[in-house]
Amino acid sequence: METVVEAAGIGKKFGNLSALKDISFQIGTGEVFGFIGPDGAGKTTLFRIITSLMIPDEGKIKVLGHDPVTEFEEIRKHIGYMPGRFSLYQDLSVEENLRFYATVFGTTLEENYHLIRDIYSHIEPFKKRMAGKLSGGMKQKLALSCALIHQPRLLVLDEPTTGVDAVSRSEFWDMLKNLRQYNITIVVSTPYMDEAMRCDRVALIQDGQLLQIGSPGTIRDGFSRKLYSVTAPEKYKLLLALKSFAGTESVFPFGDSVHLTLKEGVTVQAISDYLEKSGVVGVTMRETNAGIEDRFLELMNRK
């Protein structure tokens, strides 16, 4: 597999603040590579370095075989970039936006229509509408169409699903999967852990540092401890009680339930007793499989 993005020891500082520290990774052709991490982890800065919009202070990076610092013009011909913010012309219609980006990249809507058909067909009925008047999901589809129209070899998507409803998010990931047939490498960032499972490989990023890189499965399996899913009608009370328990290793809310790991030698019975004493009623507790989020929090806490 050919390498599309290769980074070694990337560092970036804004004044005294380190935005990125010693970032190294490789992304191969046709991969869907996800950077998963909370807001402020450094994802946008990293993407700007990949797209040659920023110069790293330290380390080496090659994108499509070129150096973004010196050969940025070569790179810019072959990447599609969708910034975190909606960045299309709000006073131009859907079709005008698309045609504009097609012309700027030296192609036409007709020539590459097959690439975006799946995505664009959703918004084509509204092609005369001004981009500023679209809903969040439609804006995102338009932005993706604009980033794709010139058949880029590398597609960089900065938090494409932020601010988009759950159904649109899921559709969006299906569309990305479909792009695989064109051999387009996709680098995507998201703060949503559940989306990690849709990537071929993910990198967990926190405070400008990579915690782990691997397939979602490998990362999830890295979680070695027993994990319990605890529920109770009064979830908040349950959470507080578990936090105050001396035998708790980690506890955090997870959907309707609370995910819990225990310190060595602490039994399930001990915790049941403690909860009963604390007055939490209707408790159910069962072992569960760890998700990416569990692993992420485990790695975070370890630091």
């Binding site: 810019r76 012309y89 700027v104 030296g106 604009c146």
Partner: protein, 369 residues
Amino acid sequence: MKRFMGFVNKEFLHIFRDFRTLIILFGIPAVQILLFGFVVSTDLKNAQIAVLDLSHDEVTRKLSGKIISSGFFDKAENLLNYDDVDRVLKSKKTKAVVIFEEDFGKRLIHNGKASVSIVSDGSEPNMATMTTNYLTAIISDFNRELSAGSAGSALLVQPEVRMFYNPSLKGQYMFVPGVITLIMILICALMTSITITREKEFGTMEVLLVSPLRPLQIILGKVIPYFILSFVDVILILLLSWLVFGLPVKGSILLLLVESMLYIFMSLSLGVLISTVAKNMQQAIFISLVGMMLPTILLSGFIFPIENMPDIYQWVSAIFPPRYFIVVIKNIMVKGTGFLFVWKETLILLLFTLAFIGFSIRNFKVRLQ
């Protein structure tokens, strides 16, 4: 090239979609011209004056008759003594008082000269200057008639006051060049700096940068639509001032248009330069308005003559390009002079343009900060 045309096309769409931009582009120039033409008229017409005639003889009657019949003045009243002078001026309706000294006619014949005083209301300096100038001009004219009548023996020697180039002191001649100068810097510098910073603010610049478009293509693509529209504006203003106020261009229209193009181009490159410095639209507007519009109004010679400014202001005004364009355009429009008289100013404008372009290209960032 196709890329570039696509970009220019997009800019036109932005302009024609935005109502406010259109107003600034075409509404403001038209309104300014009409406003200056009709409201800020500096012409003297039927200004009220009073006459204090202490002599009451044939000569004074003749002279005051000439003043009133000139069409510039209306006689409000005849005053009887000096105390009335203060009273009528305070009433604010009377702009000036003409006072003939005692035995005016006799002195004129016996001594060869006699005095007439003009007292004007200095609280309105422009009006005061104008009325005094007009009155002096009429009196000089009267002198000439007298001298001609008495065959060479000059009576009442007074300096000849005449307005060159603008004999009837038509106000429009003064403000049309000024308005063109002001509007062009407003539209070109302000609008280009806004449109470029808008791309930065809305995040679209980020995508433009990550495209094969070169900085020069982005800048030119922004500038060309405004260049065309500003040029249309110049023609619009000239047409308006010709059709509504009957102002012809005395010199070569072609030269005027070429000089205007140079000035527009200079203002546009200034706008681009502002946009490379400004981080957002507010900053761009602030720099354009405070940094360019105010100096253009105050220091370019548009309203206040540069020669009358204190030295330090004269020096400051030298760094504002509109000052030179006003000279050029006034020369061509009002005096009808050719290129030979304005080549220095043209050269200075050209140098400003080149400097602005140079700085802009150097300042334009191909990356984010």
